[in-house]
Every structure is written in structure tokens, then in C-alpha cells.
Amino acid sequence: MSENFEGTRGAGPGQRPVEMGVAVAIALFALVVIAGSLQVGVGWGAEGPKAGFFPFYVGLVILGSSIINFGAVWSERRNDQLFAEWGQLGKVMSMLIPTAIYVALVPWIGIYVASMLLIAVFMRWLGRYGWGMIAAIAVGVPVVTFIIFEKWFLVPLPKGPIEELLGF
């Protein structure tokens, strides 16, 4: 970690609370699975075990093991390890947020135009490239992808109004 983040270096959420949170989240997931299994029946029906039989026990095992995992983290009080520094989490977010917007945009403007925007944003924001370089790569890569997928392999990908205007 060579980079410095003013004032935030060395601080961040601890490993212990995050692990406890994960254990609780998994336990909640187990409860959802158990509830869903109970809805369709967990017993023995006319055609053998009912649909919820297997997932019900799977849910019980998840619940049991997440309780044990929670207990294991709970008991190691000395653990003051960090999950990640705030600066690192910031970097993760700088990746995750544009990606989330990208994923949300794909159904509306198609995957090609969305990818152009994504590449452009990353190159400008993280790489601080000049606009010429950005234009070349942000347009070039999706266009090549378009040729490979739509023309060579005949795999249609989501397209938006701009592709429609161009007649594809």
C-alpha cells in the first residue's frame, strides 16, 4: 500500500464486526430458506419427500453453522484486525458505483453504449487519460466486441435506441 490517504490511513471497519454481520446475514438467509421450504411442505407426501424437504434441512444446517461461526468470532475478543482501510473501501466503491450504474443502464441504452461510457469514465477518472486516447479505446473496444459477437458468433446482445438509429 504505497498510496497515502490523508487522515484515513490505518483506520477502517474491524474484521470482527464485519464477520459478525456476515454471520447474521447468513443466518437471516437461512431463515428465509426455512420459511420458503415450510411454505411448500417439508414432510412426506404422496410422491415421497415434498419439495421443501431438502432445502429445509439445508436451511437448518446453514443456521446452525452461522451460529457457530458467530460464536467463534464473538469469543476472539483480542482480534483488532481491520477488514479494510477506509481508503481501500473508497477505491472499491469507486469501482462498484460506476459498475452499478452501468448494470442499471444496460437494459435502457444497450450494452455497447453503456460500455463506452463505462470505459470512458474509468479512463478519465482513474487513469486521467487525454480525451483522444479515451475516445479511441472507449469506442474501439465495444465496436470490436460488436463485430465479434453480432457478426461472427451471431450472439445478440442488448441494444438500445442508438443502435436502432444506426439500423441494427
Partner: protein, 500 residues
């Protein structure tokens, strides 16, 4: 010697020009995937799987398995040159490979790594050729109870062998089973766990999970660690290659040992990563130059690379002969079989001879081609790594999104991919292993079906799983694998007691 005839027929299939082309493309793509951070064997194969839908199953599996070999080779390049393991199984290669590169012996280290990979793979392929048909023949007698036994054994070995805490492995695995159960129940035709959401009708596709967990999750981890690629130049010339080859036979014992470790760890689903570490550890303990390990000892490159490649290849044995994949990538290949309309399992050897032996023949040839490709093209692949992260990251994201979309032509899957990515990042940071989760999603339905069919035939009595010698010994093996760490502890305690 029916197998030999079959193998030759397999070679005649592989040597068709189209299949050779597909093989070369697969290897090149595989090495690139192995070199790039965030793209690995499993999700690389998952992303490219939809492209093979229009091919014949044999060409498709040749291409995908060659991507896998390529990725195995590619991992070594980044480890040696940049001290960044492109794949988890090449972490152990960095220990001695990178110091060698720093001393200006990068060419030597790379040649040793590639050649060892090749030797490990060749050993495993020969083993598959000889053993897989026998295992398949044997497995043809399996009923539902024995089938469930095999799944049980596979998953128990995961718990017993993983270095993560056992209950985290159990939790991760069971989450996979639960996700596999979502949607239409194949036995009763009933909908379950969908809570009225139409998107969940078909359940969770493991390909989406693989792309999300391994692809997106891995990119998030990479950016968190703030990697930047700084590394030595890669000079490989024929003189270095031949000089290294002349030196390598000296380490035949290390090679052989690593091959055996790799094959064993690959068949039991421990996988390539622990195999490479174990092999490195043992080589360090046994070697005469053990104290020099970590400072650029060529033997320290040979051991992990041989084992990793042997394990990666051997993982296909249980996939082909039993329908139980030994690694996440093998699981993706197995998913491919289902999509191409083939039923994985012992019957493949009877009904799809051309497919099976074409695949096995392609393993021989693919690894030879792979070795030649990596030896000649290292500078090219190293150049790919110099592409700045700000460019390569969004491009990888784009390919992940395309891969996720093409599975079912659904944009909802792209959203799920991102969700899996975040989940994968958090779980990985909390030491939950992801491989059993993926394997459980792939095998969940089949394991459940075998379980319910067994119970059906026994009227609900669990006694069916100990009803004959075969199934009870499989189940017993499973339990031994499950409690292996405890058994090992007990043994060491017994052995040390008299000394005290």
C-alpha cells in the same frame, strides 16, 4: 487395449483442422485470461461458454478445456515476472520464481515453470487415460444411494481439506445448495423458494454465480489491494530454454512427488491451490537445498507448478467418470456438458465415446501446444499486463456483463452478477471459501435428486445409505474425509504421548 484404440480415434477427431484451430484459440485466450487479474480459469470459461453453443460438443469442450490449460500456464507468467499470482494456485510459484526474475534469471524460471506444468499435466492425463474408463465402468453399477454417497464424499472432502474454518466451509456449501434449490423442483414440478418472483422461476444459474463471485469479486479485491504492475522484462531465448531443460532432470524426484500430490489433491476436490502449497512445503522440507528455498531456487518453482497443473488436470477425472467435478473450472465444464445436451457421468464413456476420447486426446495435444505457445509468446503476454488497470478493468467488467447476459439473454442476470460479485468480495474477505459454494450450485439438484430417490426406495429410512458394502464404504470414506483434521490430531497426539 480397447482404450488405446479409442484414444487413437480421439486423436483423429482432435486433428481435424477446425478442432486444431479451436484448440489454438482456446490456449491463447486461456493464457490471456490467466495473465489478467480478475479473470481466472473458472469465470473465463463461464464467460466464453455461450460462444460455444453453436459448436459441436466435442469442439466446444476442446476449446473450453484448452482455455483451462492456457489459464494454468498463464498464472505462472505473472507470478514470476510481476510477483502477482494471476491465479490462486500460482501463489507458491512467486516464492522462488520472482526472486529468480530479480536475479535476472526470469527466462530460466519461466522455462522451469512451463515445463513443470507440462510434466504435471502429462502425468495426470496419462492417469486419466488409464484410470477414468475403469472408474466409469465401476460407477455404472451405482444406484441413487451410491450416487448420493459419491456427492457426500466430494463435499465432505471439501470440509475436511479446506484451510478455512470448517463451519465456514459448511455454511458456504449449504448456501450453494439452497441457491440450487430455488425455482422449479425437478421431482414434484412444484415452485419453491421463489416468493412469487418470476425472475426466480428458473433458479440461480451457476454461470452467473461464477462470473460474479470469481470475476467481479476478484476485481474488487484487486483494486482494494491497489495493485500496480511493475516487473522485469521477460527474455526467453532457445539457449536459456535448452540450458534449463538440461538442468531439470536433476529434480525428477521432486517432479514425481509433486505429480502424485497434484493428482491426489485434484481428484479429491481439494484442488490445485492447496496442492501447490503442499508440494512446495514438502519439497522445501525434503530438498538438500531446503534452506535456500525462497531465495530463487529452481526446485521451488518446479514443485508447486507441477502439482498445480497435475491437480488442475486430474480434477477432470471425477468429472468425466462420475459427474462430480473436482474444481470450480471442472464444474463449469460440467455445466457446459449439460447445456450441450450431454449427461455427465459414467454413461458418457459408453454413449459419447467420440466426445470423451476427443477430450482426452485434446488434453495431450493441448498441453504440448500450450507449452510451445507460452515458451514462444511470453513477451507478448507480459505486454498485456502492462496495459494500465484503468483500461483493463472496465473492459473486464464489460466482458463479465456480456458473459452473464448471454447465459439466458436476460439483463436481470447482469444485476445478479453484480450482487454475487459484492457477496463474493465480502465472503472472500471473511474467509468463506467460494469453490464449494459454486460446486454446490452445480451439483445441488443432482445430489438432491439422488438423495430423494434413495429415500423413496427405502420408504424414508436413512438405512439405505448403509444397506450394502459399496454404499457404506463410500459413506464411511466421506465421514473420514469430513473429520480428517480431528483424526489427524488424534494420531499426532497418540504418537507424541510416549515421548512425554
Amino acid at each position: 487395449m480397447e482404450e488405446i484404440a479409442n484414444l487413437f480415434h480421439g486423436f483423429s477427431v482432435v486433428l481435424q483442422p477446425f478442432n486444431l484451430l479451436v484448440m489454438l484459440v482456446g490456449i491463447m485466450l486461456g493464457v490471456i485470461i490467466g495473465v489478467l487479474p480478475g479473470l481466472g480459469g473458472a469465470n473465463g470459461v463461464a464467460i466464453l461458454l455461450p460462444l460455444t453453443f453453436s459448436m459441436s460438443p466435442t469442439s466446444a469442450i476442446i476449446m473450453l478445456s484448452c482455455i483451462y490449460w492456457g489459464a494454468l500456464f498463464g498464472g505462472a507468467i505473472t507470478s514470476v515476472l510481476f510477483n502477482i499470482p494471476g491465479e490462486p494456485w500460482s501463489v507458491a510459484t512467486t516464492f522462488d520464481g520472482h526472486p529468480m526474475a530479480q536475479q535476472g534469471r526470469a527466462g530460466e524460471a519461466l522455462t522451469a515453470a512451463f515445463t513443470s506444468s507440462f510434466v504435471g499435466a502429462l502425468f495426470a492425463v496419462i492417469m486419466i487415460t488409464l484410470v477414468a474408463p475403469l472408474v466409469a465402468k465401476f460407477a455404472l453399477q451405482f444406484g441413487p444411494a451410491e450416487k448420493f454417497g459419491v456427492y457426500f464424499l466430494a463435499f465432505c472432502s471439501f470440509v475436511g481439506m479446506s484451510k478455512e474454518p470448517p463451519f465456514k466451509t459448511v455454511a458456504a456449501m449449504m448456501i450453494g445448495f439452497a441457491l440450487a434449490a430455488v425455482g422449479l423442483d425437478s421431482v414434484t414440478g412444484q415452485l419453491r423458494l421463489t416468493f412469487g418472483q418470476t425472475e426466480l422461476l428458473n433458479g440461480f444459474d451457476f454461470l452467473i454465480a461464477v462470473i460474479g463471485l470469481f470475476g467481479i469479486g476478484e476485481i474488487l479485491l484487486t483494486i482494494e489491494e491497489g495493485l500496480s504492475f511493475k516487473g522485469g522484462a521477460a527474455g526467453i531465448n532457445p539457449a536459456v530454454v535448452f540450458k534449463t531443460w538440461a538442468e531439470l532432470p536433476r529434480y525428477w524426484m521432486t517432479s514425481l512427488r509433486s505429480c502424485v500430490i497434484g493428482c491426489w489433491m485434484g481428484i479429491s476436490p481439494a484442488g490445485a491451490t492447496p496442492a501447490s502449497f503442499m508440494s512446495y512445503g514438502i519439497a522445501k522440507r525434503v530438498s538438500k537445498h531446503g534452506d535456500r528455498f525462497g531465495r530463487g531456487e529452481i526446485e521451488g518453482v518446479v514443485a508447486p507448478e507441477t502439482a498445480a497443473h497435475a491437480a488442475g488436470t486430474a480434477a477432470l477425472l471425477p468429472m468425466l467418470s462420475l459427474g462430480v467435478p473436482g474444481s470450480p473450472t471442472a464444474a463449469v465444464l460440467l455445466g457446459g456438458l449439460l447445456i450441450w445436451g450431454l449427461q455427465p457421468g459414467p454413461l458418457l464413456f459408453v454413449e459419447q465415446k467420440e466426445f470423451v476420447w476427443g477430450l482426452i486426446a485434446s488434453m495431450y495435444l493441448g498441453n504440448v501446444v500450450g507449452l510451445l505457445v507460452v515458451l514462444t509468446c511470453v513477451p507478448l503476454f507480459a505486454a498485456i499486463l502492462r496495459i494500465p488497470f484503468a483500461i483493463i478493468a472496465p473492459v473486464i467488467l464489460m466482458f463479465c456483463a456480456i458473459g452473464a447476459y448471454t447465459v439466458h439473454n436476460s439483463t436481470f442476470d447482469v444485476v445478479m452478477m453484480l450482487v454475487f460479485g459484492v457477496v463474493g468480495y465480502v465472503l472472500k474477505k471473511c474467509n468463506y471459501p467460494l469453490a464449494p459454494l459454486v460446486l454446490a450450485i452445480v451439483l445441488g439438484d443432482k445430489a438432491e435428486e439422488a438423495f430423494r430417490q434413495s429415500l423413496l426406495s427405502s420408504q424414508g429410512s436413512l438405512g439405505i445409505f448403509v444397506s450394502n458394502g459399496l454404499v457404506s464404504s463410500i459413506m464411511a470414506l466421506g465421514l473420514i474425509a469430513l473429520f480428517w483434521p480431528l483424526i489427524q490430531n488424534a494420531f499426532t497426539r497418540l504418537r507424541t504421548r510416549p515421548a512425554i
